[in-house]
């Protein structure tokens, strides 16, 4: 007890640093550490899925249509939400993505747009994130 009283300032600084480190590490609004780890699926191609693989995926699928048109594909209409690419990081969108218990699948006619958003969300620590490719698996 005497020791605590004597060195309370050191302890306070120590606890403050720990709290700051924890906030920085687990903050949901920022990028996570180790960019290589989060980008790795893009190098192996494991982040690209094809329509045939959709049914075999377990969990609550969330398909995000990033296209400019209204959800055009009736095959996916029941599991699809529409999001503007530029507002994907808005609070309600990012909350919906993070809260989903299952794969989050990005879908767009413009594959480069889907790829850019995949990389950003992945580096923010979103797991189970995929891009739906419509080229039938002929990669």
């Amino acid at each position: 007890m005497k020791l605590l009283k004597q060195y309370w300032i050191v302890l306070a600084i120590f606890i403050l640093i720990i709290v700051l480190v924890l906030i920085r590490t687990f903050s949901t609004g920022n990028f996570r550490y180790d960019a290589v780890k989060w980008a790795e699926p893009s190098a192996t191609g494991s982040n690209i899925i094809y329509e045939a693989q959709l049914d075999s995926m377990s969990g609550n699928k969330l398909l995000i249509d990033l296209g400019a048109e209204p959800v055009s594909d009736s095959r996916f209409s029941d599991i699809t939400v529409k999001m503007e690419p530029g507002s994907i990081l808005d609070k309600q969108n990012i909350k919906l993505i993070r809260k989903n218990r299952g794969p989050v699948i990005l879908y767009s006619d413009n594959t480069s747009e889907a790829a850019k958003i995949w990389m950003i969300l992945s580096e923010m620590g979103v797991k189970g994130l995929y891009i739906l490719s419509d080229d039938g698996g002929n990669k």
Partner: protein, 203 residues
Amino acid sequence: METGRKICLLLILLSLILALLPLTSNRSFTAKPHALLAGVLSNETSLSVDQVAEYIVKEDSTIQLIDLRMPEEFRKQTIPGAVNIPYTDLISKDPDIWLGNKDTKSIFYSDNDPEQSFALVYAKGLGYNNSFVMSGGAGEWVRTIMETRFTGERITARENALFETRRRAGEMYTTLNSLPDSLKAGFLESRKFSAKKLDGGCE
């Protein structure tokens, strides 16, 4: 008293390690998510094949064309001036080796859109803001530079300049890619060496 001081010292040391360790252990994105998103979605990060062809014809030394495909694909069809950095290498190694020169525009291309877009966001996220993609990639280069022909009756000065650039870039591409394999491999290897030799600069 002595023990107390030791504990204090230990705590300070531990907190310093906690605060600094993640910053030095691995690369992490330094950009702010919203700013990065707006930046990569804007058209300014994308250059057309005609813009790239113009850089090549002018032999502009302020650009660096980066082919993200595998070495065998790169050797088969090489855009003049391009260097081969397979996407897996860009991700797994320190990109500062290639992107470190802030005055040089790095233009990524591949044969598929997602790969070059991944590379763009990855580079910009790490703070290499002078990064761009060649819109449409290697396929668009072939379609636009190698295969388009003027079909109208009258040609404007602007169109004439455009087609002249395409013709010259196309010639450079054909010349490079018609070299025998051994010569071409030697040429591409010599480009690697000359880049290294320049690292030290001159006195």
